[in-house]
Subunit: 572 residues, 2 copies
């Protein structure tokens, strides 16, 4: 089944996944440590369970390969069997299928944390996932599911790995959350949804940890923030030890009733995780029946995100400018020595001052290496919380940053020159993120008409590349008034771009470069720009006048800066 056929099928009807493997095989007597061993040692036991799921009406069977990645297998001394375990699992699942059933290769965590939470490199995890995905796909699965993930960064590595094996394989990704809607690594379901909206995945979902009743509110957030079809696999309640048996308290009947609620909220694929068995799947399928997926209302807002913080970009995105090593010798020297403590402090300060994102510019790049960029991204991931605007010139370093970054960052920036713009579009297509496009090519046009003309050219390129314009800010360019540049050209360009329905962002402080009293000029100018329709600014949030005026200018427009708390507290 091709990817587009799978997506058409998802539009047509709600699909049913199977239930648990680990808990069900335990129930059926398996007492080993790794159920994947059964693929080689007792394939019939696996096949029997899968036949039961087929009989229960599952549209999709997962392969018994949840932990069959090299990292996990190594822990059990089984690394040498990686290919057989995965290939055999596919073979077993296929043999348990009816004609129109699908087999998805099951993948999950390596069990370690990627840097900076753990010790393992992103690229190492990526390689581990790529190896397993390659075997599963070579063995003929119809799709891949990456599930029970709790680290967004590890998930990102897995997604990139699967897609680097096949651009055409259907791909479901599913994270596991606590009842408060956050993963154990602090990533909220909204951030998960936001980041996955950009990535090349087909279905996003939630599974494990929670029983259906607890998962409903988490799932409803996913339904609100995700633009993708949805998958859900709750546990059958928390396990209780009764005698020497683990008993899951959610009965198949109760499970089935709840699962229909998920369908009402917009689930496209429903199944069961720990504690569920063929009976759960069967009753669920009967209770829900053959039905068309519900059309959901997804928020139209654009968000940016770090691993733990989600920020709306509307009505206005404030990006702090102060991490900028350009012309700062001492700071540059610290960065060269991989000492990022000053940058972390600057990020924390700017968060206190009311920024929603932090621009990161390491200054002179030719004296730096990939490790400096990886280092700063990881350090800020660990010790600062806001999303980043990655202000890097060298394309290779820019890719390092976006690859390493956990969340949805802003790429700052591309010009309208196709040769400059296209590779940066490729980056946000592959890694996600928003983009700032400067209204210039080699030189900055003097008049607003010419700047707008370049923006229109860029719009055509972006459309052709399939980038939604909502993901893009156009920078009308601010020049120093001290150098006799006319600030009205900028305001006019903002106004015209707004009339074209485009979003705009400026680097505010450039206006007052070289002036003695910068804050008041910046603030006055910002009010004019906001009035003209400006959507974002990279600014010095230490300037209280500027920050105050920004609030006032937005109030004048009948808008107010939204606190993320308000969004999170929104009732179901």
């Amino acid at each position: 089944m091709r990817r587009d056929e799978f997506l058409k099928l998802l539009e047509k009807r709600v699909l049913f996944l199977d239930g648990a493997y680990g808990t069900e095989l335990f129930k059926r007597g398996f007492r080993g440590k790794l159920v994947e061993v059964l693929n080689l040692e007792n394939p019939e036991m696996v096949r029997e369970l899968q036949c039961d799921y087929t009989g229960a009406g599952a549209d999709i069977l997962l392969t018994n390969t949840f932990s069959a990645n090299r990292m996990k297998l190594t822990q059990y001394g089984l690394a040498e069997f990686i290919e057989q375990i995965n290939a055999k699992a596919v073979e077993i699942a296929k043999s348990a299928c009816k004609t129109d059933q699908l087999v998805f290769g099951d993948m999950s965590s390596t069990g370690t944390f990627v840097k900076p939470l753990g010790e393992i490199d992103f690229d190492e995890v990526y390689t581990i996932f790529k190896e397993q995905a390659q075997i599963l796909i070579d063995s003929g699965v119809n799709g891949i599911i990456i599930e029970t993930m709790s680290d967004l960064k590890e998930l990102k590595a897995a997604v990139l790995a699967v897609r680097d094996v096949s651009r055409d394989i259907p791909l479901i990704v599913s994270m596991t959350f606590e009842e408060d809607g956050k993963s154990v690594t602090g990533t909220s379901v909204e951030i998960f949804a936001t980041v996955m909206n950009d990535l090349d995945v087909d279905v996003v979902g939630i599974n494990c940890t929670l029983e259906p009743k607890q998962m409903l509110s988490v799932f409803s957030k996913l339904a609100k923030y995700s633009k993708k079809p949805l998958c859900v696999e709750p546990n059958a309640g928390k396990p209780m030890l009764v005698g020497n048996r683990l008993v899951y308290r959610t009965s198949p009947e109760e499970f089935a009733i709840y699962m229909r609620d998920f369908v009402e909220l917009g689930a496209n694929i429903v199944g069961g995780c720990c504690g569920t068995g063929p009976e759960h799947i069967k009753l669920m399928r009967n209770y829900i029946g053959e039905r068309t997926p519900v059309q959901r209302a997804v928020t139209k807002e654009q968000f940016i995100a770090s691993r733990t913080v989600l920020k709306p970009t509307e009505p206005f995105l404030i990006i702090g400018e102060r991490i900028n090593a350009t012309g700062k010798k001492k700071l540059q020297e610290e960065i060269r020595q991989m000492n990022f403590s000053h940058l972390v402090k600057l990020a924390q300060e700017q968060e206190q001052e009311g920024c929603a994102a932090i621009d990161v510019n390491l200054g002179l790049e030719k004296v730096l290496s990939e490790e400096h960029f990886r280092g700063v991204i990881n350090e800020l991931d660990r010790y600062a919380s806001l999303p980043l605007s990655i202000d890097v010139q060298t394309l290779n370093f820019l890719e390092i940053c976006f690859r390493e970054y956990v969340g949805r960052a802003v790429l700052n920036s591309a010009t309208c020159d196709e040769k400059h713009l296209l590779p940066r579009i490729e980056l946000i297509k592959r890694y996600g993120g928003m983009l700032i496009v400067l209204c210039m090519e080699k030189d900055i046009p003097e008049h607003s008409e010419e700047r707008v003309k370049l923006a229109k050219k860029a719009v055509e390129i972006l459309k052709a590349e399939g980038i939604e314009l909502e993901r893009v800010f156009f920078d009308p360019l601010v020049l120093p008034i001290g150098a006799k540049k006319d600030h009205r050209v900028t305001v006019e360009t903002v106004r015209k771009l707004k009339e074209l329905g485009l979003k705009t962002s400026i680097g505010l402080s450039n206006l007052s470069f070289g002036l003695p009293e910068r804050e008041s000029v910046n603030a006055a100018f910002l009010s004019l720009c906001v009035d003209a329709g400006l959507s974002a600014a990279i600014l010095n949030s230490k300037e209280q006048t500027t920050m105050n005026v920004l609030r006032g200018a937005l109030t004048l427009k009948g808008e107010q800066l939204v606190q993320i708390d308000q969004i999170e507290e929104e009732p179901l």
Copy 2:
């Protein structure tokens, strides 16, 4: 000679006044206390001196009536002779004239200070001057000169008195200044010029106190700030006692040479004060000869002034809003009890905060009397220093304030309704000042087009009444955004009025009435208005964001708030 004929003559050639009376009659043997007594006791002695001045070439003879006002005469027990002394003086001067010579009735100070500097009421001084002016004019003088005045308020009373006797008599007013360009009451020559520009006087001048060399720099300031023809009468240097004779050290030759410098600076009438005699006048006339007055470059800027502080209104006039008793019960009660200490404190604070003028609104006026308004004007004259914006609704009270005020105030405000506008135009014609005209009649029009239309109507009325439009601010009206009024109407009205070449002023804080965080909204809006061309605002100068943004907005326009120091320090 009619007033217009006199003004034509002034355009044609430089005129020569006579020299001193007091010092010259002393030199000739008079040892009494009041030279005016000679008019009755020894008229021939006066006539002889005046004939000498005629012979020296004086175009204008002054009557020997410098101190012949009721206040001064009373001190010498001569009040009953007031009519004879003045009338006789005119008769003597006329008899000493050739056909084409002019006789100007000489008036000067009552020798007391008007309230609040002294104890005497403005109206009492006014009555004293009116009495003397009436006698002089009835006796047939060709003009009046009010000279050697050091209190601007007393001068104002004298001007009003003369004009209330005759609108057609030529009128010269002359103050006396120290070498630093300030009168002993602290009024600068620039303030004198500024205030007299509005009043119905024909010639302004400086006399006495200084010798020619010292007077030049003071006179050059007058020449820069005064729009009127200029008169100058220096002393012949400081008097020195040689034996039992007072000797003035400036010789006639030296005097003549200096006096030509005054003509070069733009003097239209030149004469001598203390220490000068016929020889000074004769040499001066010969040295200068028959010549056309120099065309001066007069500053086009509009200034406002208190007794001691001059403030430019360009590029932007900041008027402090905080003296406003509306809705403040305790403050209103204090005002009713003639306790203005709180108002004085508010005025002082607002000066510190950077205001150029202080708006004064006493709140509910029907519970107040004329004395409250006189009281507040005098209290602020005495204890605060900035010029005022007089925000009074009741026409009668408004006139009290303008009559009592020393300086050039802003009348706040008239509407475009002719019935409301005309009497307020009359007030600034009579007493001087600038005017705020609200772009409304009974109601506030909803759209900017209608507001501009009303402003245009007011412009026609103002032009017909001879009011220069530079003296007028149009208020486009700011309504509370909290009440869903559109602030853009205000900005658009400012822009259109600016395009018409009109000045604009807003009451800023009304915008945010009822909002929780007013400062940021006010500041953001002010930037938009300044960008649209706003010239003035009544605002809360405690709002630092607003004050900062104002500075920035002006910098953006390439303008900066001018410090009055810069003006005063300007070299010759």
